[in-house]
């Protein structure tokens, strides 16, 4: 049984003329133990997809099964309980509560589970030890480096022992040292048997993944399995083979990575999208022509 099974999921924001189609009939199946990197340009719907999978948001259309159970139309409180018990969410901006210590932050999800205070702090302390932050327990987030804050955030995501970890650009606000720290940690969590989804813009980080999913304009345009330790082949093209973007490409907002990604389906023309500042069909056609 797959951990995640998404079928024809669409997400629309706004209404009327201002409608944005953030996800367009996405299908995605993720098996237990996969370590999936999600890539794609800004605004292509990666966060929207992560939020839907993490039950922070609901799809406008389509079905989502988590661990074989339909969760696409849950009541808010029910969703909260599933989030608490089965999903760990890691944000780009860390999202620790600034007035709580690292330890208290990590213990936060347990607060909503009727566990006694002493037990909560003990569990949180154990997890912090696992992520190598035992000596920083009583630091406030403002007293920690970015990498350390994100490690505490990962500890918080792990404290309920969830099977699924979702990380939306976990290294987006970190330097290379911080990124390494965080990715090594996620990698270790993966080895413990967790399923992990993470969003990244850095092709190098696909080395940690077992699978890479490329998105563009609300759809999944490519999906490849890769070996751990190897940069995914499509991402590699972006990294080594593709020529630097031309001035024309810059104007059109085409990144080196997207030029490496195969064509986007052109069925989008008929969709009632109202996206600003983006001309998906034109740019992808051009990318195709160049190759």
């Amino acid at each position: 049984m797959p951990v995640i099974e998404i079928k024809d999921v669409s997400k629309l924001y706004g209404f009327g003329d201002a409608t944005t189609l953030a996800l367009d009939e996405v299908d995605l199946v993720i098996e237990e133990g996969e370590f999936v990197a999600i890539m794609g340009p800004s605004g292509c719907g990666k966060s929207t997809l992560m939020n839907l999978i993490g039950l922070l948001d609901r799809p406008t259309h389509g079905d989502y099964h988590l661990n074989g159970r339909k969760v696409s139309r849950l009541r808010p409180n029910h969703a909260a309980k599933i989030r608490r018990d089965t999903i760990g969410f890691i944000f780009q901006s860390f999202n620790l509560l600034p007035k709580l210590t690292a330890l208290e932050n990590v213990a936060l999800p347990l607060t909503y589970k009727n566990i006694s205070l002493t037990k909560r702090l003990k569990m949180a302390s154990n997890i912090l030890e696992r992520v190598g932050m035992k000596d920083r327990e009583y630091y406030l987030p403002s007293q920690l480096s970015g990498g350390q804050v994100q490690c505490a955030a990962i500890a918080r995501a792990l404290v309920n022992n969830p099977k699924l970890i979702i990380a939306d650009e976990p290294t987006g606000n970190l330097d290379s040292t911080g990124s390494r720290l965080v990715m090594e940690l996620l990698s270790e969590v993966h080895r413990m048997g967790n399923t992990i989804l993470f969003v990244t813009h850095n092709p190098e980080l696909t080395r940690y993944a077992t699978r890479v999913v490329y998105m563009h304009d609300g759809t999944i345009v490519q999906d490849e399995q890769t070996a751990i330790g190897q940069v995914a082949s499509t991402a590699k093209k972006a990294l080594y083979k593709t020529a630097p973007t031309s001035e024309e490409d810059d104007l059109a907002g085409v990144s080196a990575l997207m030029k490496a990604v195969p064509s986007t389906p052109s069925k989008r023309t008929s969709k009632p999208t109202a996206k600003k500042n983006r001309k998906p069909n034109k740019t992808t056609k051009k990318a195709k022509a160049k190759r």
Partner: protein, 408 residues
């Protein structure tokens, strides 16, 4: 329904303390409201008890005859308020009528004699000179602290008995027996000093503690028989005869007054009913006005909870993302509102207590703080927290996690 937990209150307490200044200002409305409602009710209750005590002291069978109509109808409470003011005086004919009709009873007239009093410190203007009969102490269950009250033999003598307060103000000595003061061109000698009368605050009566008492006949003589009694006290020989005596006096006076009842004959128990009615009405009115400040305080709490919700929207998003349910978020904010309102209530009750003590020390009032009033005030504080905190707290609880995370 899952109720607020101790953890909720601990966290709320922490947050309230972190924003100490803001929290105090928010509580102020509740503090003022609770403090004023509780002290007004306490003062009212205190006065009622003082009146009861005084009536018990003189005995409930004491009959008071006064000029003017005093309405005692149970339903027309507002008319009671206007009826308290008694004007005019009784005539000598009334006095003899009362003496005749109230058979076997002790009759004591009270008349104010006008004129300047010159004591050791010059003019004494704090109290009236009352001409009365020798039985005043026995009718009022009062005794002299020093010396004696005048007797039947003193009718032609220039002697006086002083109220305790008058004695203190007119003379330097603790016991001014034998000292003299001037009144209407004559010298009066102090024969005795009365014990303190239990005073009733808010009463429009003549204050017996400030008064100077002279024999009734002496008063008449000084004024060429033009002094008229403003009140006649009648003590029946037997408490069981009180009602009959009242009826007898009334019919006698009606004849005198040509069948118009522009006078009143009241037993103490009736006086008590009247004052109780007036006091209850006053207490209710003032407490009602004070309660408006509770409403204002509640709105303050609603406002600050709303501010808190807006400030902490991002935090709400994080908490929801890690699994907080709507109710758990609701409880967090409700706990804060309740801590604020109950905190205000407790401080208000403490302040009411302080006001009570200060009033006892500086005035004749003796407020009585009843536990019922305290419990009701505390209950209302909790209610205010729940009622006024719920709208903003619900707003936070119902935000979906993504919107909240964006801090909107």
């Amino acid at each position: 329904m899952k109720t607020l937990s101790r953890g909720n209150f601990k966290a709320a307490w922490k947050s309230v303390r972190r924003n100490r200044g803001r929290s105090f200002l928010t509580m102020l409305g509740i503090i003022i409201g609770v403090a004023s409602v509780v002290s007004v009710v306490s003062i009212g209750e205190g006065v009622k008890r003082q009146v009861t005590m005084q009536i018990n002291h003189v005995g409930s069978d004491l009959i008071t005859v006064r000029a003017g109509q005093l309405s005692t109808s149970a339903n027309g409470r507002l008319s009671v308020l206007s009826g308290v003011h008694v004007s005019g005086s009784l005539s000598d004919k009334d006095l003899s009528s009362v003496r005749q009709t109230a058979t076997g009873a002790t009759v004591v007239p009270l008349a104010v004699v006008g004129g300047a009093v010159t004591g050791e410190h010059g003019a004494y203007q704090d109290g009236p000179v009352i001409a009365t009969s020798t039985n005043l102490p026995s009718v009022l269950n009062q005794s002299t602290a020093f010396g004696t009250f005048f007797t039947g033999d003193d009718d032609q003598n220039n002697v006086a008995v002083l109220g305790a307060q008058a004695a203190r103000r007119m003379f330097d000595e603790e016991v001014p027996l034998g000292h003299t003061f001037g009144f209407r061109g004559k010298e009066f000698m102090v024969r005795g000093v009365l014990n303190d009368f239990t005073t009733t605050p808010l009463s429009t009566d003549v204050d017996f503690n400030n008064a100077i008492y002279i024999p009734y006949a002496m008063g008449q003589q000084l004024t060429d028989n033009s002094t008229l009694p403003y009140e006649i006290l009648v003590k029946p020989a037997d408490a069981s005869k009180a009602d009959k005596t009242v009826d007898a006096i009334r019919s006698g006076l009606l004849k005198n007054h040509g069948d118009s009842s522009d006078f009143s004959v009241l037993k103490q128990s009736q006086t008590q009913a009247t004052t109780d009615g007036v006091l209850s009405l006053l207490t209710e009115l003032i407490a009602g006005a004070a309660a408006i400040s509770l409403l204002v305080g509640g709105i303050g709490i609603m406002n600050i909870t709303l501010v808190s919700v807006t400030e902490r929207m991002h935090e709400v998003g994080i908490r929801k993302a890690v699994g907080a349910t709507n109710r758990q978020i609701l409880n967090e904010f409700m706990a804060e509102a309740v801590v604020l309102s109950v905190g205000g209530g407790v401080i208000g009750i403490i302040i009411a207590g302080i006001i009570d003590v200060v009033l006892r020390l500086t005035t004749t009032l003796a407020p009585v703080m009843q536990w019922q009033a305290v419990v009701i005030a505390a209950g209302i504080s909790i209610l205010i927290g729940v009622v006024f905190g719920s709208a903003p707290a619900l707003k936070a609880a119902r935000k979906d996690p993504i919107t909240a995370l964006r801090g909107e």
